[in-house]
Symmetry: C3
Subunit: 271 residues, 3 copies
């Protein structure tokens, strides 16, 4: 089999496993996207839970198959809870997926992301180009929480970042890039309407969490999760009248997409 066929089969297998195992994904995420994230995970067949109190996150993460840390609406108490949950997850071998929303925009966010990367055994970071550039120490043009940089610009730095941190990186955009500093995968699934709905990036991170709950290789979990997510976006866009109907059709598509359809539609390339 050529590598692309292998990735298609892996995507289908992961999609099937999420539906069968219904991995519990513990999210400490931002207020804006909590509802949409939970609905995305449910539509995919996973089991979301949101819990952020310092005095319960360790207990909650112990049930989870993945922990998603998202710094989108941050304050000091939430950072403390993320660190506590993250350290417990590290200890238990629960994969931790970090979404550094707005890194580069404010010092609080950039430093929170770096601190999590320093104190928690993160399995993968998923961000937009500007966020990844900011984490790599490069000049980023984060505009609030939106990227003003290209995936390719960030991809050029992502390999070194992944090697330095020992943490694979996924950059999402028109074509996503996933790398651990050695392998480089590009995922061409997706649709521009995804950028017109808030929380589609955060939802991608949560789906990577669900896939990481059934696939021990974070690079594979990320690439196949992003392909599934992007293909659902393509299906949803077909017939959508705008961002509102797209958002609803997207949840329907995440739910309906079979492993077989995914295997046909995956566009993952290595190198």
């Amino acid at each position: 089999m050529n590598p692309e066929t292998t990735w298609a089969a892996q995507a289908a297998a992961n999609r099937k496993a999420v539906g069968a195992q219904k991995p519990l994904v513990h999210n400490i995420t931002n207020y804006v996207v909590m509802n949409f994230t939970a609905n995305i995970l449910l539509a995919a067949g996973a089991a979301p839970v949101m819990a952020h109190a310092e005095n319960e996150v360790e207990e909650m993460v112990a049930f989870a198959k993945a922990l998603v840390l998202n710094i989108g609406t941050l304050d000091d108490a939430w950072i403390a809870a993320m660190l506590k949950a993250g350290r417990k997850a590290s200890e238990l071998g629960v994969p931790v997926i970090l979404d550094p929303v707005g890194a580069g925009a404010t010092t609080l966010r950039t430093e929170a992301a770096r601190r999590i990367l320093g104190e928690v055994r993160v399995s993968l970071v998923r961000g937009n180009a500007s966020e990844i550039l900011a984490l790599s120490g490069a000049e980023a043009r984060t505009r609030g929480v939106d990227s003003a940089d290209t995936v390719e610009a960030a991809a050029a730095r992502a390999g070194a970042l992944a090697r330095d941190l020992g943490v694979p990186v996924a950059i999402t955009g028109p074509v996503d890039c996933v790398t651990d500093g050695r392998r480089v995968l590009r995922v061409a699934n997706g649709h521009p309407l995804m950028g017109c709905v808030t929380g589609t990036g955060c939802g991608a991170t949560a789906i990577i969490g669900a896939f990481a709950g059934v696939d021990a290789d974070p690079v594979s979990a990320a690439a196949t999760g992003l392909a599934y997510y992007g293909l659902a976006g393509e299906v949803a866009a077909d017939g959508a009248a705008g961002p509102g109907s797209f958002m609803i059709r997207f949840l329907d598509a995440l739910h309906a997409l079979t492993p077989e359809e995914l295997e046909q539609g995956v566009r993952i390339q290595e190198g």
Copy 2:
């Protein structure tokens, strides 16, 4: 009239009263479902308000016809606000409906639910089977915020729990069970797609709040509210392409369902 006819008439009367009186429902609820809960209450004709600051909850609850306490994304400050609002509601005779989201999953949640039950005159508890089992002191298999137990298993304990606490209990699932330890009502309305959308359980609790705002008997408010809610789910599922379109059609159905249609569709049985 046979009892089933009586319950159908009561459901229709309550639905009508909610639309006419537009009861103000004060919610102290979790971040994930705040928006959906407000939209559910508005669609039903009730008036939602969310307020959680310790220094305003007593003033706010004084306007309300019901108070809904939901422990879904808890921390210590929110517990304090719930207790304060709950005690004020008890004092004023405002019905309090408790949703013990995730009781049994973490100590914080189980203890918060018990503390509210101890310090507040709760009118009714609405939970899934695992949450109700956890409150009854039985071994529960809460999985994050999802139930891994059957309604029947929880129903077997719910009568004793209701008598011990002096608080009626509603367990939701494929067939809901409402009991005060004396009467037992079963509500067969509903649809499996409700489990694919986050916050449908929390929304059921809020609807019980709205019905409790117009019906002084909490068992009757819960059973008729759940029948209305479940019937809207049945209507919404017919033609839905997945959980996204279901969610939207569900709000439409809650809004459109007339007292007459409800009277025809109610499936409440005693015993």
Copy 3:
């Protein structure tokens, strides 16, 4: 040109400018509407960001073209953040739009709104009739967060309020009223279904923020923003089956509405 034609042209120009300039709107808003607000702004072509931590709001607002302060789910820490962000915005000349959700319902909210008006150079206040009456010191019949007063009752006080504060006021309802105490504009666009979805008032404030990001005259920004918003509501209502489908069609309509269509549909009158 008669004044109505002028306003239609201004609305079209502002709509076009929002799409072209994609103004970053920094929102410190309530939990209930964060997601819907972000989606409304994105659908309009603006760039939303939510950030509330005291130790990042000054940095974030420095990037913004407008700051929206919404007191819908308030506590003391959020008030402090709003004041800090608001003072920085005042210093930088970033327009600040205030939404006094529930002013008049509780002391905390009324005082928070007054304190913001006292300490921040607010560009415009957008509220419902009861909220504006409460701020004017009149007896208001706020019911939770809903108005029980008429726009006309509030409009009678809004001119004096605007002159006293030196801050223009927009009152939304069946026909909106915008005044700086000298000019009075009435906006007749809108649809009753907007009242059946939570956060449509908050979303109106956010859209005024986006328009204020491209139009230096807050009265003009408010009237044209409300006309655009209301016209999208009219388009969305045509064919909606209820509040759920309306909400989705509303996002689609905000996205699809062209400057030319807006120019045709605007109903703004002076005097």
